[in-house]
Amino acid sequence: MTKIKPFYDGLVLGGGIAGMQAALDLAGQGFEVLLVEKEPTIGGVMVGLNKVFPTLDCSSCICTPRMAEVAHHDRISVLCYTDLVRARRRNAGFEVILRKKPRYVVEEDCIGCSLCELACPYFAPHEFDQGLGARAAIYIPHGNAIPQVPVLDPDYCMLDGNCARACPKNCIDFAQQAEELSVGVGSIIVATGLRLTPMGAKKQYGGDRHANVMNPLAMERVQSSNGPYGHILRPSDGKIPRSVAYVQCAGSRDQSIGVPYCSRVCCMYALKQAIMIRHQRHDTQVTIYHMDIRAFGKGYEQFYRRAQSEGVRVVKAKVARITEVENGDLSLRVELIDEGGRVADIRHDLVVLSQGTIPGWRPEGALPLEVDDDGFFAIPDIAARPANSTAEGIFVAGVATGPKDIPDSIVEAGAAAMEAAMYLDRVRESAGEMA
């Protein structure tokens, strides 16, 4: 049985960078916080990134200390692999029902030795590496995962007991069941983050068909030193790509795929990845096809110029179509507007679709919150109270309210924590007055 307290001051939904920051900022003010994450590890999208823009700092070097801080904080409890079933208002707070999914591993006994993982003979595409590498049917999500406890994937497990025999602590439990937990909380911070637009969204790009059309998170993994290849290689044949194309607005600002808004981060991550490619492979040509480059943040315009000075080619053209040609190479059809509107088919070894961000989670009755037409949480007073949702006592941070980069998500998480703290204080004061 999972042991949690019966009451927390704050419930944080989502263990990505925004959720972790909100939990830390709320706990730092003396409140008790429960952090709930649907995946088997906290860290969210950020822990899978290679570098962050515009400083080119190592992403996990920023993210993993926060993960550890959250995990070791006296006033923060973490529940991973757990979904919110529903939260109902009770007095000034909420009655929350959670569903902890079965890992088929007794978490309290596990020492994270990985022997089960090494004993397992069955493999599946590795989620953390965006399907490019493989992981066993029982696996610790990645080297920096917290907690360092494996999860068994029943879709690939053949129940032959190799892991159970290898486990020195005898903590593999094939009969484990999902667990329903009930807890009272004083306030809720929603930081449920993002998903990428599906790779098949724009059918003219064939992102779901062509082996060498990659999603940007996969490129992050490929560029990472702990990634699936250890070098920048293309998936179909392991060739070193000599020419890489970035297709901007592949998953946003496009009404034909139902995502009309700008995702805010794609221009910058494309520039960042392009620079990283140039750093690793000086002779690889990188071309960014864009409608316009949106470099809006602190140091971003300078970063854009830096990319160009490092040899990244930036071409104004919306790619209309990507066709697979010989050897898995790709041909991009564009109108070169700056060259008199010449239409050209340009060939590249590897293409990255700069997919946009869509909401990571929809409440659908689990929370009494309204969402906007685009699926992000509605913020009634965006100019004055950007972290306040449509419901009292529920606050929102990060991409859950709209596309955002890491610095903005962290700032907003702090704002949400502060709003929650003030709310909790108000509730306490009025309870004191009534007493």
Binding site: C249, Q255, S256, V319, A320, I337, E339, G341
Partner: protein
Amino acid sequence: MILRVDPSITAELSQYGGDTAVKCFNCGNCTAACSLTNQESVFPRRYIRYIQLGLKDKMIGSLDPWLCYYCGDCSETCPRQAQPGKLMMASRRWLISMYDWTGLSRLMYRHEWVEVVMLALVALLVLALFTIPANFGFRLLAQHPEALRTVNLSDFAPKEVVHWGDIALASLLGFLLLSNAARMVFHVRRHAAGGAGWAFLAELREFVIEGFTQRRWRDCETGAGKHWLRHLLLVTAYGAMFCLVVVFLRWFQVENTSFHWSSLLGYYSTLVLMGATLGIMSDRLKKREQIHKDSDLADWLFVILLFLTGLSGIALHLARLLDLPLTTYVLYTVHLMIAVSMLTVEVPFGKWSHLFYRPLAMYLQAVEARRQHSAIPAGATRAPVTV
């Protein structure tokens, strides 16, 4: 060159059914998505840019809208839903009204009711022709009571009279269409470089072939095969009908209940006219493809009139074979009321004028391409122009 800017052009174009030009943010997706865009003609983005900038002279002088067969790929994939295909269609209407010196076309496209009134007026004129003169139509019939017992068209509409009427109508419409086409050539060529003289001769083939076959349509990626074939059949059908009526009326108009082989060709034309127009109408009701999504009254009137022409024609034919004299004469009048009004309104002023403008545009484009190729020394490239 001084460019005159007319900021009212976006509002004007929306009266022709193209109200989405302002949505475009010039990403170029449409041009790259278009399977007809080539080295010589880059569209639709550049033309939409002209609209946005109010470059009316550039628009009038451009052939781009005529090169588009509206497969809809651009509209389907436009990130702004600016409907480039629909804008090309609206631009074709606008161009037709710009070429037309009478101003009727302009009135017709801006106010739908004008077209209905024009059609009705011509139809009434035809009715008057059959009812008022003493030596033609129903009053001629009064002098030949036996023609009411058994069909005899020479006692109702003598073919010499009808024949010369056909010639007169064809000449009038031909004059209107050709004079408008001359204005089109003027607008297109007024800023063009010289030295294209012999190219005009060399590319005449293109004009003839394109006019009869619309072969470029087959290069469209989406839905082209079906639409092209249906259109080609329609062309053969009304082409055959045109020949039968204008040139071979002497044989095609049979006086009594006897049968002449030329009716076989008539059957073919009728079948295709009615079948193809029914198909078009059904597609427009289903609205599955981009090309069928935005039909306005003018588009509908055209296919409905084509269909009714076929229907009244075959009904007239059957009534004659069945020896129903009065029915035959009435149907004859109705048939001509429909056909003549359709021809008079649609050929010089309306949708049907594309039968001449489109091949002419392809021809003019080919002429310009040939001139440019011969003007550029080997190895040189054209200087880029950014709009």
